[in-house]
């Protein structure tokens, strides 16, 4: 890509603008490396026109990024994009942007491109979504997902977090959930999907759920039945199965955490999704200590006091958060 960019013939202004836009997209890509950045520097310095074109593209990019929430809001209230230049739509967008007037109902557009909605929960926030197909999604704290309902399939991407899915039955439209390098496929059922970091777990309450590697990822497909739970790690083909009471997997909905024989590190990671003050657990031995119990999630100090009854630890205030250390006095 970088070579292609530097070798591209830049005769006209339009070409330079195109290359400037290419560079912004490249600089913002996650796989940018230092050699490409140095190529960018060379391109930028080669001609004053390059820097001008880049600065213009950068200014527009930064402005759009800063205004993204307001643009989304204005666009969300209208149906699919139509042909440009229709004055009525322009005015409608402006009013919505000003936040003053609710939009009138727009005609249903059969050719509308599919819309994707993104939902996010903050720390300690739970959220219940009702989808247009009748399915519901209950999101745990610190979660992010996007939903796309198409005619042939229903698709959810869960980059981070946990949710209980209650999927409305529709055989002609499978419900697919992408989490890391695996895809969960269902027709109509109720189950919990949790994707934190590189770890995925799926627990089924009702119906049949299939978990398969995403295209190109290692491993094979598995079918889960009610009361079964699958645990997988990104990049590893092997998975683990266990029996589960689905009510336990979903216990966060009732404001408590239930864990059985789980490493303390995982429990702390869960708690860190519920409270703003970070809990720090540096000690690998303590993090690997297995704990079992039920924690009611009321306030953080109380939760940590209860946690100290379940594991040999003490909580010490530190900076902006709390540090967990092994409590020598509590050692068996």
């Amino acid at each position: 890509m970088a070579e292609a960019l530097t070798q591209k013939r830049e005769t006209g202004e339009a070409d330079i603008r195109a290359v400037a836009a290419d560079w912004i997209a490249r600089l913002q890509a996650p796989d940018l490396d230092a050699a490409q950045a140095a190529d960018f520097d060379a391109w930028l310095s080669a001609e004053p026109a390059h820097a001008r074109a880049y600065d213009a593209a950068l200014a527009v990019t930064l402005e759009l990024e800063a205004a993204a929430p307001r643009i989304s809001e204005a666009l969300a209230d209208e149906p699919a994009p139509r042909r440009a230049g229709r004055r009525g739509w322009l005015i409608a967008g402006g009013l919505a942007a000003a936040g003053a007037i609710a939009l009138a109902v727009m005609p249903y557009d059969v050719l509308a491109p599919t819309k994707t909605e993104t939902y996010v929960t903050a720390k300690g926030e739970h959220r219940r979504l009702k989808l247009a197909d009748g399915s519901t999604i209950e999101m745990n704290a610190g979660s992010r997902l996007s939903v796309t309902l198409e005619r042939g399939e229903r698709r959810v991407v869960l980059p981070e977090g946990e949710a209980v899915f209650d999927v409305a039955a529709d055989k002609s439209r499978p419900f697919l959930i992408s989490a890391g390098d695996r895809t969960v496929r269902v027709v109509g059922t109720r189950f919990d999907v949790r994707h934190r970091g590189h770890a995925l777990s799926v627990a089924v309450e009702r119906g049949v759920v299939e978990v398969r590697p995403a295209d190109g990822a290692p491993g094979r497909a598995w079918r889960l039945r009610p009361g079964q739970r699958l645990d997988a790690s990104e990049g590893r083909p092997a998975v683990q199965f266990s029996a589960v009471d689905p009510a336990e997997a979903e216990s966060w909905r009732a404001g408590r955490l239930i864990f059985r024989d789980q490493p303390l590190g995982e429990v702390v990671a869960d708690l860190n999704q519920q409270f703003d003050k970070p809990i720090v657990l540096d000690d690998p031995v303590l993090a690997a200590t297995r704990v079992s119990g039920v924690l009611v999630l009321d306030d953080q100090a109380a939760v940590l006091r209860r946690l100290a009854l379940l594991a040999p630890l003490k909580a010490l205030p530190s900076g902006k958060g709390v540090v967990l250390r092994t409590d020598p006095a509590a050692k068996p």
Binding site: A18, D41, A67, E73, D77, G93
Partner: protein, 183 residues
């Protein structure tokens, strides 16, 4: 900024490269960090790092090393912050949607309101008029905050194709919204 040690640039090729390329570095950092202010902060942090480091004997390509250091600096800093910020802003956005579009907290000052509303209309119109695929990639990635990989998954495209669409969208948006260029 606070007084930093000021070694002589002439006998330090890396520092010399930094001083020569500072404007380019800020442009680079702004694209990745999301604002010029953040880019200036990062450039300053990079300078302090350079000034305080052990001088290496032989630096092959000072420009590449400079950009590698800049990338690492951003990785260190951005990881946690960006995530939290994106989560907060998206959450605020959804929370606002629940109060019937009346956004009290973000209300601009009265004299700026008309200009801001007009500019916002221009932005919205320009995004709405993007070609379908470029528009969808732009909305998912830039407005909804999905990563390149997530956008690719939702659209059923490769990550490279997403980057192409985003670039095409930026080109069209710059032509429409950017300053007139006279070259």
């Amino acid at each position: 900024m606070a007084d930093a040690p000021k070694p002589s640039a002439t006998d330090d090729p890396l520092l010399a490269a930094y001083l020569e390329r500072r404007a380019n570095l800020v442009r680079f950092l702004a694209a990745r960090a999301g604002s010029l202010a953040a880019a200036e902060d990062l450039a300053q942090e990079l300078y302090l790092k350079l000034a305080g480091r052990e001088r290496a004997q032989d630096i092959g390509n000072p420009t590449a090393l400079l950009y590698r250091m800049a990338l690492n600096l951003m990785l260190d800093r951005a990881r946690g912050e960006a995530r939290a910020a994106a989560r907060d802003s998206a959450w605020r956005q959804t929370a606002h949607a629940q109060v019937a579009g009346i956004d009290v907290a973000d209300e601009p000052a009265a004299d700026d309101a008309a200009a801001a509303a007009q500019r916002l209309r221009q932005l919205v119109t320009a995004v709405r008029e993007l070609p379908p695929q470029a528009g969808r990639a732009f909305r998912l990635h830039k407005l909804d905050g999905l990563s390149h990989a997530e956008t690719a998954r939702v659209m059923g495209l490769s990550v490279k194709a997403v980057e192409k669409h985003v670039s095409a969208a930026l080109k069209a948006l710059t032509a429409k919204l950017g300053p007139r260029l006279n070259s």
